[in-house]
Amino acid sequence: MVTNTKESLLTGFVPTSDKTWRIVQEGYDPFEEHDMETIFTVGNGFLGVRGTSEFISRQSRPGMFVAGLFAPDQHSGLPQMAVCPHPFSIRVAVEDQDYGSQEMAPEDHFRILDLKQGVSFRNWIIEDSEGRRTRFHSQRSASIANRRALFQQIEVQPLNYSGKISLDFNIPGRSQNMGGSELLVRLGAEALEAGGTLSRFETKDQRRQLFIGSRALPCTGHPDLFVHEAHGGDADTGASDRWSWSAAIGETYTFTRMISVATTRETEEPSATVISDLDLWAGSAPPDSFHNVPDSWRELWEVSDVVLEGDPTIQQALRFYIYHMLISANPDDEYVSIGARTLSGEAYNGHVFWDTETYMLPFFVATQPRMARALMMYRYHTLDGARRKAIAHGCKGAFYAWESAETGDEVTPEEIIMEDNRVIPIHTGHLQVHITADVAHGARRYWHATGDETFIREAGTEIMLETARFWKSRAELGDDGLYHLNDLQGPDEYHIHISDNAYTNYMAGWNVIRALGTLDWLRDNHPKEARELLDKIAMDQNEIEDLQDFVTRIYSADNPEAPAIEQFKGYFELDSSTVEELGRKDGPLSVTLDEELLQKTQVLKQADTLLLFQLFPELACKSGFRRNFDYYEPRTDHGSSLSYPTHALLAARLGYTEKALKYLALTAGLDLDDVMGNAALGIHAATAGGLWQAVVFGFAGLQYTDDGITVDPHMPSHWDRLAFSVFHHGRLVKVEVTNNPLKWEIL
């Protein structure tokens, strides 16, 4: 436990005391440092900064990520989210002994991530080779009010000596992506006349420039005490904003720092913008770094919080993942979306997957509709990329990228070349066609829940129609007179080159039906816009009738006589052994079974057919929800982080409480307990959204219906109260479920 004594050392901001509102690391372990850096990320949707120590060392994997700042990978040429210089870097010298990046084992080390106030705290003591002990305490946050702004406060206290200390508020001149590649080149840096430094970087392809302004000011003691010097330095030293003074034993010295970040992607005047931010901040007396932080966060949490009384572990994880979702989306930028590992890590190159629409979007639609709108508008702005992909595959309409970056063009690597020169082909970019319907589903979900007519008129209908026409062009008319979707891959990635995947076929049919329904609505309510849209996308009445015909003839595998909906054609002919029967101990079967052998079994990597019951709760009563869950769950290997939350949600709805809680715990601990062993690479964004869905759609049983909102709670006996808010057609609806006896209210 962090004791009161320790926390009493903190000045200014004090962390929220409620344990479910904060994440606390006690101690220090270099081998867990990358995990902690991910967990303690601060951000605001425009940028994210990993919780890397202020003193960068060999144990550090520092990273600031700016949404949408991609540069080509040096090997594949595909866009890769650039790792930007660590903006909170500080270099310390005591009596000219440079603490730089020395290997030091900090004592009394703890970190606190205050989820409620959006501030990360860190405390540590360093003893140098002369026996001098210095306590450091830092606070950092990313502003919501001005998304370019980062704030940092640092306290320095010499514990057993008096002497000269210098703090260099450094902006490093280099930054490296994993594997050592540098995607940014420093163009230069300068000391600013009014104080601080301005550093300029450019992506290696020279498409974008990044500007980082930094200014630190002492805010304790006598101003005459401190000597200041700033210089631009070079790529090796970075830009230096240094304060030196003669420190007295036991005294605490506090500095505040503002960092402003801008790129040529979002502004034509990044340099002036950054300098203006610094001047405005320094002009306040005294500069209060954290002035707007709590108010902004209070507004976010008022709507987005989920209160769960009776289970503090799940409550803490819920807030942790909600925090990470809130710092991943930017309501003011329609040209970016959320990468698979948010802005907290660089796995999957910052690319956007179906995770956004299927797992995260429901949270944003329900609690932050402006953020949800920006995410869906990203899909609208990248529609041309999806059109290009469709043409490349000999199809019509829009075939969304399995991995999407800036333009919406497909950026999934075609293959991975291993060190032994083995070439591993990556099929997903070609075969996981369901992404297209997933995007359409997101657009429809957003419209249905918010009633945002402007969106559906100006963007949503076009997405729906272009994705609908893709399906018709992708399908093949069989001898049986039905349309079949052949040679694809469902969400279950263990089986490839399959046909008539139940999930994909259903989603495709749904996509076309809803597209036609949306077109009807537009024709009825805005006939001129409907005509203009059809002209724009060159869709005539014949094609519309073809689409109407398509939905009546797409192959459906729902056979009540079968043990379940057949996941794909021929699935039931495979070895029907369960995961347990095949001997999974811990870790996916794909590790222990040969890939070819695995494909001969019915074992699936993650929820596939069952996902239909998550996305379409109305199917539950008519298509054998329980029958399907009972069949597929024992055959699911959970080789993907997407699998646990879906199973938690569905098991909760079915009243399989024990099972639901098991999957919920795995979901909640995915990053905090490092369940998958790869938290170091960034927050699992889909899991964050999946946990929220499991609690709200699963345990509370919330549904959006045409008649409004309904709940059907399945509360575990130890849960006392569940309360949350959701927007519905612009109105904030509060839902409260209490237990023992079970009661609920929709206000």
């Binding site: 436990m1 962090v2 344990k19 479910t20 994440i23 606390v24 690391q25 006690e26 101690g27 220090y28 372990d29 270099p30 081998f31 867990e32 990358h34 902690m36 967990i39 060999r58 994997r61 290997e103 084992a105 080390h109 994993m178 594997g179 503090p312 572990t313 409550q315 803490q316 660089e346 796995a347 999957y348 999934t412 690597p413 991975i416 291993m418 060190e419 032994d420 591993i424 990556i426 997903t428 990635e493 101990k585 811990d586 870790g587 996916p588 794909s590 590790v591 222990t592 990597k605 080789g639 993907s640 905090l672 307990d673 490092d674 369940v675 998958m676 062993g677 790869n678 170091a680 690479l681």
Partner: protein, 289 residues
């Protein structure tokens, strides 16, 4: 390991088998610029010429080495001198061991009780005169990676490359029971695209952060699935490696150090056993419960 004692100890008992350790000891001594101390422990002090003859050493001696005849108990005397060196080099006989116990009782006791790094020449192993490739098995625990500094030191001195073979454990334990900071590449094997990322993380966490890591030593990482000692032996054979460098916890009791025991019996190349210390760092996330 005590880095301040830059020398090697080669105990020889006069047998043909023990002499198998001479070539690797000389090669290592030359590469690391360390003095080679050869000792023979017996009931009586032997004159130099007689000692040379008994041990089968060249009459002209060995450059950069010392040779001593010592009276006393072999295990105790070797252990006493092992306190002064960085490496002990010993060939094992393969008697009896390999069926539950380890080969060669003296070697076993030195391995068990000495804090020095022990270079073991297993019965089936040929020695080496040069080192081109070093295989380091890592199971994904931080403590196993304590073998890396010794591997780097040898690779840097010899110009060798390092091939890491990661053998994730077949786990029935819960994650919270594992050593903190552990990382297993297996978790991402099914996600082909993620292999590069997790391998990089593995290398960063267990390899690149060591103080004597340098990009001048080529390092590759492979993942092996199966019985650890067999995977290591297969890897050494496939890569035509010269040396295995492996960390171990220093306990040879039944149920412990199974991989090390198997390698000492069955490896076809010399094995440098690095005794890893207790974890120095501790960190935890505080539960809200």
């Amino acid at each position: 390991m005590n880095a301040t004692k830059k020398c090697l100890l080669l105990p020889l008992d006069g047998s043909e088998n023990s002499l198998k350790a001479l070539a690797p000891a000389m090669a290592l001594s030359k590469a690391l610029f360390q003095t080679l101390h050869i000792i023979h422990v017996s009931d009586s002090q032997l004159p130099h010429d007689e000692l040379i003859t008994k041990l089968g050493l060249p009459k002209r001696g060995i450059a950069g080495s010392t040779i001593d005849s010592v009276i006393g108990d072999p295990v105790e005397e070797i252990l006493r001198r092992a306190e002064e060196v960085e490496y002990v080099v010993m060939a094992t006989k393969g008697q009896g061991g390999c069926q539950g116990k380890m080969a060669g009782s003296v070697a076993e006791q030195i391995l068990h009780r000495s804090t020095a790094n022990v270079l073991v020449i297993p019965p089936r192993a040929a020695g080496f005169e040069k080192i081109s490739r070093v295989v380091v098995p890592l199971d994904g625990t931080p403590s196993a990676s304590d073998a890396m500094p010794a591997a780097f030191a040898i690779a840097q001195a010899t110009g060798a490359s390092i091939s890491i073979i990661h053998i994730p454990p077949v786990r029935s334990t819960k994650r919270e029971d594992l050593e903190p900071g552990s990382l297993f590449v297996e978790g991402m094997l099914d996600e082909s695209e993620g292999i590069g990322d997790i391998k990089n993380e593995f290398l960063d966490r267990f390899v690149r952060h060591h103080e004597n890591y340098g990009p001048d030593v080529p390092v590759t990482l492979e993942v092996g699935i199966g019985h650890p000692s067999q995977v290591i032996i297969d890897t050494v054979r496939n890569l035509d490696a010269d040396l295995i460098v492996a960390g171990w916890h220093g306990t040879l009791e039944i149920g412990h150090a199974q991989t090390l025991k198997s390698l000492v019996c069955q490896a076809t190349k010399p094995l440098l056993a690095i005794r890893v210390g207790a974890r120095k760092f501790h960190s935890k996330l505080v539960s809200a419960a």
